[in-house]
Each structure stands twice: as C-alpha cells, then as structure tokens.
C-alpha cells in the first residue's frame, strides 16, 4: 500500500490562477511567521511561538486540495495550517497577542487557533491530541453523509503516541474519510526522529490497511497532487489515508531555540535552505513555466507585506479582553 507520489501527476487539472494562489498562500505563511518572530523577540507576544517556516508547501498543498467545509485539525506548530485553510492574519495576530478580537477571544493563543467558519477544529498543544477529534469529525461526515473530509496534521513526534494507532485502526474499520498528514520535519523538539522512531513509518499505517503515501513535503505541487487523490478517495467512501511529508523545520523548536548546534549542524540547515526552500523552488518553477514573471510575484509579495503590516498594527492596537471574560465559555 505504500507508494511514493509520482511527480508527473502534479500538473493535472491545475490552472495558473490556482498555482499563483498557492504561491500567495505559502508566501503569506512565510511573512506571517516572520512577523511572529519579530513580535515575539520584541516581547509583544506572550507565551511560545513555534514557527512553520520551511514547511509551507504541506499546509498549502493539502488545504488547496480541500473544500472550504472540510475539516482540519492542527498542532502547536499550527499557524500555517490555519492560514492555509483560510484564517485571517488579522484575527490570528490578535489571538497570538491575547486580544479579545482574536479567534478565541484571546483565550487560546498561538497553539489553539480554532475557527468553525474555515472548518478548523482547532490547533492542539498535546502531541497527537487531535487525532481522535479529526477521526470523530470524519465519523460525523460519514454518518451525516455530508461529503466532508477531515485532515489531521501532526508532526512525526505524534508517531510515538498510541492514540494515533487506535484511531487509524478505527478509521480503517469504519472506512472514515480522514487523512492523517504526518509532517516529518526531522526533529522531535530537539531530538532527531531516527532516535525515536523504529521501523518504516508508512508501514505503520499500511499495517492497518490504511492507504499510505510518501511525498516530498517541500514540493507543493507534489503534495497537492497526492492530497487531491487522497481527499477524492476519502470522499468516495474508500477510507482513510496516511500521508508522510518529508520536510524541514527551518527555525528552532520555538522562537527561543536559537543555538541548535547541539542537535543539528548549521551546514545541514544551510543545505536545506539553499536547495529545498519550497517557496523559492516553486517561484522558479512558476517562472520557468511562464506562469508568472518576477514582477508578478514581486507584486504578490508586496501586497502580502502590506497586509501583514496592517494586521500586526490592528492586533497590537486591539484591546485585551476584560476581566469578566475569564469565566465565560467554560460551559456551553
């Protein structure tokens, strides 16, 4: 059942507009995260910030294969998934700064962005914490015959959690429309995944009979192609899938993780940046295919920069929740 996606499938049925949209989405995530980094280092952002820089092709490639009402669950490194599924940078920044205007009225923060309007069931700060939720959403979709698909994003660290296997077993037994997207960015916090992960990763899924695929997570076209296949398949009632995306976390585990040489070399980082930047490579491809020239892409970049600047301004200026908010929404 394990297959590696075929790059030749990647262009089928995708027009220029969609390619440019993917570029815009990836660049939006990159710029959003750079702003988060700045807000955090300027001490304007409380808490922790886990940046998605370097992994943009996965969130965008998968979410562009989904319907707006499809569900996603995300992780502590979740800004990219939320944006790719359609979240507004303005309301995300507000949430990251703990402001009342944020997606969760300031009560969730960076690791818990949730938005029913974009099918976002919530980012989850427990590793593998949302596997059950995504599988349950797929059960609802199947039971209610809504035609929705649920995508569960998680990092390779979640491979250590038993609940993932319990849920994959259930999903396959019940033929649920759920796609488990494993983003292997190679580092479980500060530990190389080879030190924590035995055997073959996709084989863990195929052991349950779950359709398993492996894809280059730095190639948005490849990710999008295989995600489209898996989503269509799930929608047809053919059951769950497991998609392993090999990728790289360009920054530290969180913003404060600056000195990383004790667990990975600068040389390794530079190699990934130079050879495998998903945005840079995709831009080159767009230009080579004459889908866009430098000025088109430059216009997109500057539009996004302006949008992010405005969003940050809005969030910084927005008020904190009042004290009476603290005990609201404990119970429905």
């Amino acid at each position: 059942m394990t297959t590696v996606s075929d790059p030749t499938r990647t262009s089928a049925g995708v027009g220029v507009e969609k390619w440019l949209r993917m570029y815009r989405q990836m660049m939006a995530i990159r710029l959003f995260e750079e702003n988060v980094n700045e807000l955090y280092t300027r001490a304007l952002m409380p808490g922790l910030a886990h940046l998605y820089i370097g992994e943009e092709a996965i969130a965008v490639g998968v979410c562009e294969a989904l319907r707006p009402d499809d569900y996603v669950t995300s992780t502590h490194r979740g800004h990219g998934h939320c944006l790719a599924k359609g979240a507004s940078p303005k309301l995300m920044f507000a949430e990251l700064l703990g402001k009342e205007a944020g997606y969760c009225r300031g009560k969730g923060g960076s690791m818990h962005i949730a938005d029913p309007a974009t099918g976002n069931l919530g980012a989850n700060a427990i590793v593998a914490g949302s596997v059950g939720i995504a599988t349950g959403a797929a059960l609802s979709a199947k039971t209610l015959k809504s035609g929705q698909v649920a995508v569960c994003f998680f990092g390779e660290g979640a491979l250590g959690q038993g609940v993932l296997y319990e849920c994959m077993n259930l999903a396959q037994l019940w033929k649920l429309p759920v796609i488990y997207v494993c983003e292997n960015n190679m580092y479980t916090e500060y530990t190389h995944f080879s030190e924590t992960t035995a055997g073959d990763i996709p084989a863990r899924a195929s052991a349950f009979g779950v359709r398993a695929e492996t894809v280059d997570g730095q190639d948005v076209r490849a990710v999008h192609a295989v995600a489209t296949d898996l989503a269509d398949r799930a929608r047809r009632g053919e059951g769950p899938a497991f998609l392993l995306c090999n990728t790289y976390r360009y920054r530290g585990h969180h913003v404060g993780d600056i000195n990383r040489e004790y667990y990975r070399s600068k040389k390794e980082e530079q190699q990934w940046l130079a050879e495998s930047d998903p945005i840079k490579n995709f831009a080159e491809w767009l230009k080579s295919q004459k889908h866009a020239d430098a000025s088109t892409l430059g216009t997109i970049d500057s539009e996004l920069r302006a949008e992010m600047d405005q969003a940050v301004k809005f969030a910084v200026g927005a008020p904190y929740p009042g004290a009476d908010e603290v005990d609201q929404d404990v119970y429905a």
Binding site: G122, S140, A141, A150, L170
Partner: protein, 331 residues
C-alpha cells in the same frame, strides 16, 4: 406504586429507557463502546438497543478507550451527540487526555466557538469482588476539571431523568453508574421527564443530622437513617446528584438546619468528592455547625479482592450509623 403511570423498574432499565427515548427523539444520538451492541455490555444494561437502532447507532469498538473517546469528542464537535461507553470506571484513566485536555477545553480554548455535546457513561463502586482495577470510584478526577459535568445518579428515577438531561446538554458530561445499583428497583413515571443537572435531592427529611450521600452511598445513608431513627436521631439524607454543577445551596441549607453533617461518597475519602463537599459545607454553614463535618469514603488502599477485606474498605449503613451516633454525642 399505586399512582397511575408510575411503575417499578430497575436502575439498568431506567438507563436503557433514557437512552432509547433520546435515540428515538434525536437521530444524532448514538452509543459507542466495547461490547455495547449485541452483548449489551457485560452488565446487560444496553440489551435490546441494537435490535431497535442497528449497529450504526449502537457501535461496538475495539478496546481502545483513548481512541474512541477522542472520536467521540470530534464527532460531538461536528454534529453528532455521542454516548461513549467506558465499561469500568477504572478505565477512564485511559481516556484522560481526551476528556481533561480535549473535551473539557475545546469550548473555552475556542472562545466559545466549538461545543462538545457528548456523554461518557461509565461505572463506579466496589463490592463485586473484582479487585483493585475494576472496583474504583474515580468521579473525583473529572469533578476536578473545569469544563466537565459529572452526574452520580442513585435511583432509577434519577438515572433516567439525569441521563436524558446529560444527553441534551451541550457540554461533556460524565455519567457514573453504580455497578451494585443496576438491579435496584424504584418508581419511575411512564411519562417523559428530565431532571436538571445541578439540583440536589432531599431523599429523606430529618432534623438532627444531615447525611450527604452520593451514588452508591445514598442507599447506605438511607439505611443508616433508619437505624438512627430507632435510636431517636432524625437524619436528613441529601443527594447532590451532580458533583458539578454542585447545588451548594441545598447542601448548606440542610446542614444549617441540622447543624451536623457526614459526607459519604464511595471515592477515596482523601482529596476527593467527600472532602470537597465537606469543605463547601464548612465554608457555607460554619456558624451553624455543632460539630466537625465528617468525611466517609473508600479506605485509602487499593480495593482488595478477598471478600472480608473488600468489605472493610467501603462505608456501610452500620459504619455511617456509628459515626453519626458519635457525632451526636450518643456513642
């Protein structure tokens, strides 16, 4: 019961009726758990449901408590109203992340945008000679977590009315059933009714001492009250019925009236539900107390297998009676 429309049924039948009625009323309601379908659970509480509702709504699961509880959370968020069945209360330990970190937090963390209208049915109680991993009463664990509601029915009437309310509630509700009460018979109206969560019930009126019993310990308290009456002491028996929301007002007012209180709960007495209720009374009725508020719960040991040992670990009518006599200066 001579009244029309009221018959005597067992606790198990009351639970089954509540589930069946709610599943007929609302097609989003379904049951999921180990051996819930054809087996009807080891206690046969659910017997017959799969015949009426089919295996799509009475769903057998693998032995994966964390997995199917998590699936329940996600299904509840996205349009269904699951009743997740955890066979023995001891197994809730396996569901803790799903309940304490996911179900309890989703509504708050999302700023009120997502809801988790699910019920977890499980059991509590010793005295079945089942040893330390099938005998615990762990409802204090969930009662500790904001975002969860915890229901402890003591009679068939309460079980039916409270379970129907729990299923209709938009929050995660954990419904603990005492294993030894499944065969307990009691009057239950034939007509539709519900009991709101967070309303205590005075099971017996009295003037000299309040026995606050939960779940399995309500019958124990009532037994003690009969013995106390013969000794000339009038005991009031109050059942909070839910540990959260907690009807503090009724508990405190009863103790203000009687000036003495014993809290009896089958969870471990230390750091548990009995301790919390005792503290609530001490705070709310302090100037009305004529003696210390006593806690009675399971002995602070793993529940032992051997019958004479197990019988020592849980409060009985006699031990409650003795404690009450002492508190009333009558020992």
């Amino acid at each position: 019961m001579p009244e029309t429309g009221i018959r005597e049924i067992t606790f198990a039948e009351a639970v089954r009726e509540a589930l069946a009625e709610e599943m007929r009323r609302d097609s989003r309601v379904f049951i999921m758990g180990e051996d819930v379908a054809e087996a009807g659970t080891p206690f046969k509480v659910l017997s017959g449901l799969v015949e009426e509702f089919g295996t799509a709504r009475v769903v057998d699961t693998p032995i994966s408590e964390a997995g199917f509880t998590g699936v329940g959370v996600g299904a509840a968020m996205t349009g269904l109203r699951p009743v997740v069945d955890i066979m023995f209360g001891d197994f809730i330990t396996l569901t803790m992340d799903q309940m304490a970190n996911q179900a309890a937090k989703v509504h708050y963390m999302s700023g009120g945008k997502w809801k988790v209208p699910m019920v977890m049915r499980t059991t509590l109680g010793a005295a079945r000679r089942s040893a330390a991993q099938h005998s615990q009463s762990l409802h204090a664990w969930f009662s500790h977590i904001p975002g969860l509601k915890v229901v402890l029915p003591a009679t068939p009437y309460d079980a039916k009315g409270l379970l129907k309310s729990a299923i209709r509630d938009d929050n995660p509700v954990i419904f603990f059933e005492d294993k030894m009460s499944f065969k307990l018979k009691g009057p239950v109206p034939e007509a539709e009714y519900t009991i709101p969560l967070g309303v205590a019930d005075i099971k017996r009126l009295g003037t000299d001492i309040t026995l606050l019993g939960t779940s399995s310990m309500v019958q124990v308290a009532l037994e003690a009250a009969v013995m106390l009456e013969q000794a000339g002491i009038s005991a009031e028996v109050v059942d909070p019925r839910t540990t959260w929301p907690l009807d503090e007002h009724t508990l405190i007012e009863s103790v203000k009236k009687t000036s003495r209180a014993i809290v009896i709960d089958e969870g471990y007495g230390r750091y548990g539900v009995a301790a919390e209720i005792a503290a609530t009374i001490a705070e709310g009725a302090f100037h009305y107390l004529d003696g210390p508020v006593k806690r009675m719960g399971a002995m602070h040991v793993p529940i032992p297998f051997s019958p004479p040992l197990e019988d020592l670990t849980v409060p009985t009518g006699k031990t409650v009676f003795d404690t009450a006599m002492k508190l009333c200066g009558r020992s």
